[in-house]
């Protein structure tokens, strides 16, 4: 720590400002991740409530009273629900991937260059002013726009765009379904420890 003090003293005013900016950016990133976690946690909680919907009547009527039976039945339902929800996006994703590979085969373009060049044409490009900062090369100024997207029609460009959209949308839906499966598993685990817990407080509530 003491070794760093002379280094801090040597900082110019500009260096100190950049250092403060980096610390603020780092804190903001951490804070953003914290709020993203809150959002993801809420989404996963609502996805996990599907277990409650599927198991409510069974537990309410006392058909299942054992934790082991509950776990087995809830998992079975959760897996079947996943199959029913995700088979369509999964096979659409497979179909589009197959179509893409078929096109690559007929075009004999196994390095996928048509795909990369098409997306380069349809994207923007910036010129970043990168400079050395204590041996680390980081952007030191706002970038300048050097290329705007080009959406002029060519077969390859729109085939690349179409395949990307058709693969990404079912892919995202499938990943959301996988997340819901994970959420339901966590919810089942949580219910196993809360619903079937032998908590004496429940007895004291009933005989208050």
């Amino acid at each position: 720590m003491i070794d760093y003090i002379p280094l801090l003293v040597k900082f110019t005013e500009s260096d100190k400002r950049i250092l403060i900016a980096i610390v603020i950016i780092f804190l903001l990133i951490i804070l953003l991740v914290g709020y993203i976690q809150k959002l993801v946690g809420y989404i996963m909680y609502t996805q996990g409530l599907q277990v409650d919907t599927m198991m409510y009547d069974i537990l309410r009527t006392g058909v299942i009273v054992k934790k082991r039976d509950f776990k087995r039945e809830a998992r079975r339902k959760s897996h079947l629900y996943f199959l029913k929800k995700s088979w369509l996006p999964f096979f659409m994703f497979l179909l589009c991937t197959g179509g893409f590979l078929l096109y690559v085969y007929y075009a004999q373009n196994w390095d996928f260059s048509f795909f990369t060049t098409s997306w380069q044409q349809m994207s923007t490009d910036f010129d970043w002013h990168i400079d050395d900062f204590f041996g680390v090369r980081i952007p030191t100024d706002w970038p300048t726009l050097i290329k705007t997207p080009d959406f002029s029609y060519t077969n390859e460009k729109y085939i690349a765009l179409g395949f990307t959209i058709l693969m990404v949308i079912p892919g995202i839906i499938y990943l959301i379904d996988c997340q819901a499966l994970l959420s339901r598993s966590l919810r089942i685990r949580q219910l196993c420890t809360t619903y079937f817990a032998k908590n004496v407080n429940k007895l004291s509530n009933d005989h208050a």
Partner: protein, 169 residues
Amino acid sequence: METFLKRSGIGAIIIITSPFWISVFLLYVVFGTLMILLAPLRGLFGLFSSKKGSFKIKNHYDEEAERIIAESGPGNVSGPVNQVPTYMYNNNQPSNNNNNFNTNYNNNNTYPTNPQQNYSNPNINNLPQNNNQNQQGYYNNQQNYNNNQPNNYDPNNRSNDNGQQGGNY
């Protein structure tokens, strides 16, 4: 400030443990993919096995639950872990429907709704002077009103009436 620090801390923990969460998520993606790919095989085996309806979410547990609900009527099923304290439904007004919300609940409960009924009740003189408005005193009054009712109270259970017997539970 506290929320800011809490969120920042959670964010830092999430960044540090992100490889673990990403691995768990990817494992579930692989598991889900395998499940989808093996589902037709499972269905094929199901054709030759004695198990019917293996791809139906509802099974015999749901049928049994539906049967119990249909027999009991909607809203009258008490679950195995009824979290409602007893005193909350003891103070309900009497009803003549088959309310089996509480198995010890007396359906012939004639708790007077009309104040005039109190004077026609011979037990009114036996009522303890209850200036204390706590709930236990309220129970005692209610039990005296219903002394002419059949006793379905378990005398061994003295946890709810301070040892008195014969009251409605």
